[in-house]
């Protein structure tokens, strides 16, 4: 066997061992940094995500949280369910605040993780200029957007991230326009690391947060976070709903490291043979009475995303 081949094989082996270790529950730290007393709704997938984000980040981390469900679920002053420092900040300012914090820690020679944990409204709508500015400046931080596809905290108004056809309190007949493609906006900043994740795959999320925090510069993770009251499905279906989003390729799990795209396992299979989109749509009250025309448009969008990401991964753009 040539030396080159041995090196390649050992690299493959290392990757397999690494993957096994995070697919193995015992590799995840037992510590919880989110106390089991949040005021999040029963079945909230964003709280599930936060558990794993904090397990991956560990105690030497600061969260910056703009107005969103996560500001509220902490509980009532002077108590909080969060066992890491949290800076609750104005809606538009999360990434700007994180920039200052990150610089201050660097000046003090501290390696504290600075993590923004923001909703979709606070990211794709009102916080987008601060986000863009921080990414352009090369701030060393991790920006996480948990996407429940509406303004959840204030009672489910539509956001720029609400998908086409979804009913919210401000789009009672279904949203007439498509979901804003946040990932392509972030990608245009050429960050060293960006990824998508979904609450139904918490170990995948854990691994991505770990990786992101090991890289210097601005990092981004976009998590699809199903929300029982907003999407109108029974609380016990939260994990099932996330898996359906991935299996129908409505949501695609990937990572882009220094510009190189990798589609993650569950989405590889889904992109070859997606489960019927109807399964996802029919199980959510927000898509009730969706017209066949809108449904067709949604199916086309899924197909386009599959094509675009497949081409990028294969290196034919």
């Amino acid at each position: 066997m040539s030396g080159n081949r041995i090196a390649k094989l050992s690299l493959q082996l290392m990757t397999i061992i690494e993957e096994r270790s995070v697919n193995n529950l015992s590799a995840i730290p037992k510590e919880e940094y989110l106390y089991k007393c949040t005021s999040a709704c029963a079945g909230c997938s964003s709280s599930l995500c936060l558990r794993y984000v904090l397990k991956a980040a560990g105690p030497d981390s600061v969260l910056v949280v703009p107005a969103c469900c996560t500001s509220v679920i902490q509980g009532m002053y002077p108590g909080t369910a969060m066992n890491v420092p949290v800076y609750n900040i104005a809606f538009a300012a999360a990434a700007a605040c994180a920039s200052g914090m990150s610089d201050a820690f660097a000046t003090l020679g501290r390696e504290t993780n600075v993590i923004v944990y923001a909703g979709d409204g606070g990211t794709v709508d009102i916080g987008i200029q601060a986000l863009s500015g921080a990414f352009e400046r090369g701030t060393n931080f991790l920006y996480i957007c948990y996407d429940n596809e509406a303004y959840g905290n204030t009672g489910m108004q539509r956001s720029g991230s609400t998908p086409l056809g979804a009913r919210t309190t401000t789009t009672p007949g279904g949203k007439p326009t498509a979901k804003k493609d946040l990932d392509r906006i972030v990608e245009a900043h050429n960050p060293p690391y960006m990824a998508t994740a979904c609450s139904a795959y918490p170990l995948d999320l854990y691994k991505k947060v770990k990786k992101a925090l090991s890289i210097e510069g601005p990092k981004f993770i976009h998590i699809l976070a199903p929300c029982p009251p907003g999407w109108r499905y029974p609380t016990e279906k939260t994990v099932e709903m996330g898996k359906l989003a991935v299996k129908t390729a409505q949501w695609i799990l990937y990572e882009r490291e220094f510009g190189k795209l990798t589609i993650n396992g569950p989405s590889k299979a889904a992109m070859k043979k997606p489960a019927p989109l109807e399964d996802y749509i029919k199980s959510q009250g927000r898509f009730k009475n969706l017209s066949p025309e809108i449904f067709d448009l949604m199916r086309q969008q899924v197909e386009q995303n599959i094509q675009r990401l497949s081409r990028e991964e294969a290196g034919v753009c």
């Binding site: 529950l25 037992k30 919880e32 989110l34 106390y35 089991k36 007393c37 949040t38 005021s39 999040a40 709704c41 029963a42 079945g43 909230c44 997938s45 709280s47 599930l48 558990r51 679920i73 902490q74 509980g75 009532m76 002053y77 002077p78 108590g79 909080t80 369910a81 969060m82 066992n83 918490p202 170990l203 029982p228 029974p234 609380t235 016990e236 279906k237 939260t238 994990v239 099932e240």
Partner: protein, 81 residues
């Protein structure tokens, strides 16, 4: 020291005992359970510990654990209050 910032400190029950929200309670059939740990992994409220005991002071009764259990070892039983 006088605090100039509104500081909250970590505290159990910062939102009260959220177990009181529950209308259905998860009941584990230990015979059927194979200790895979998936229920604990998926509980949004971290209400299931390593020994797979459920903390009913905080379990909100969402039913995710029962829905995800591969052995159907968890039943959701209506609370009688």
């Amino acid at each position: 020291m006088r605090e100039r910032l509104a500081l909250s400190r970590p505290k159990e029950a910062s939102s009260g005992k959220t177990g009181s929200w529950r209308t259905f309670r998860p009941v584990v059939d230990k015979e059927a359970c194979n200790a895979c740990g998936l229920c604990a992994q998926y509980c949004p409220d971290a209400a299931i510990d390593e020994e797979l005991n459920i903390d009913l002071d905080y379990c909100k009764g969402c039913g995710i654990c029962a829905n995800e259990c591969p052995k159907q070892a968890i039943a959701m039983v209506r609370e009688e209050r």
